[in-house]
């Protein structure tokens, strides 16, 4: 065993530990998450009785409080109305995507023109990138295949695309721009 090629793990632990100091505990670390958990709790129980609202509110506070050290930096939704508008657009796109996909699967498969497309990213938060990749996978003709944060692009596979440039523009305008506006300003 050569000690130079196998550095002591203790000496590596120093800078990593100092980069993420333990934050002081807050009473409501993730307000959006708490609201979301209450809603999920009520849906799980399929009831809106006062007892379940109380229990859900307690769990919605307790679990984020206990696990707050493990959560990454919370994101704030800056424009709630835009979220609703975007949800409607995505819902519509999912239905359209499925009908288009059905037509392509049942149609002449050998005439499809698949392609890989690199979309340069303007957003840089992990959560927004994950959200964008998920939305892209659910909507017309594209599946996200790889993400490279260093050079800042998202690799998509398109089932059928005639003009890759137009596809990149569509993704950026329709999904990335609103996400940027909602979360990062």
């Amino acid at each position: 065993m050569n000690p130079d090629s196998n550095p002591n793990p203790v000496s590596n632990a120093g800078p990593i530990a100092s980069e993420s100091p333990l934050k002081p505990r807050r009473w409501f670390p993730h307000k959006t998450l708490s609201v979301y958990m209450v809603i999920v709790w009520l849906l799980l129980n399929n009831s809106i009785s006062p007892g379940h609202i109380l229990l859900g509110a307690f769990l919605g506070w307790l679990i984020p409080w206990l696990t707050q050290a493990f959560w990454p930096e919370a994101l704030h939704i800056r424009k709630p109305l835009l979220v609703i508008k975007m949800a409607v657009i995505i819902f519509y796109d999912i239905i359209v995507a499925n009908l288009i996909l059905a037509a392509r699967i049942l149609g002449p498969v050998n005439k499809l023109q698949p392609a890989f497309v690199k979309v340069p990213l303007d957003i840089d938060h992990d959560f927004t990138i994950a959200l964008l990749a998920s939305i892209i996978s659910l909507t017309p003709g594209t599946v996200s295949a790889d993400v490279n944060k260093e050079s800042g692009y998202l690799l998509l596979h398109c089932l059928h695309v005639v003009d890759p440039e137009a596809e990149i523009r569509l993704v950026k305008e329709r999904y990335e721009a609103p996400l940027k506006e909602i979360f990062e300003c």
């Binding site: 059905a102 659910l138 596979h157 890759p164």
Partner: protein
């Protein structure tokens, strides 16, 4: 009566979409194209069945039944992630796509 038609419409539509997604698995020529089937068709396929279930159980007089929506929520979170990981693994293995695929990232 109209409720039954509505419920059957949603369940049939969901089942047909899921069936077409599965047909895609056999018809499409390479792995990356086959990914499109499960990533999309299952979401709307299951979504249709869920809509049918919500309407059926909400109109039986036991009050609103919405916990099926959680299935849709969890599916919307997990389906794109599994498709992404499968695609990433295929790229890592340099799995070949059909000849006419443009901009292959490993060339």
């Amino acid at each position: 009566m109209w409720v039954e038609y509505l419920v059957s419409f949603f369940i049939l539509a969901g089942a047909i979409i899921a069936l077409i997604g599965s047909i895609g698995l056999t018809r499409l020529p390479d792995f990356y194209m086959r990914l499109h089937g499960p990533a999309k068709a299952t979401t709307l396929g299951v979504g249709g069945v869920i809509a049918g279930s919500v309407i059926f159980f909400s109109t039986r007089g036991d009050g609103l039944s919405l916990h099926e929506l959680l299935i849709a929520l969890f599916l919307f979170i997990t389906a794109p992630v599994s498709a992404h990981i499968a695609a990433k693994a295929a790229l890592h293995l340099k799995l070949d796509a059909v000849e006419r695929t443009r901009n292959k990232p490993w060339r």
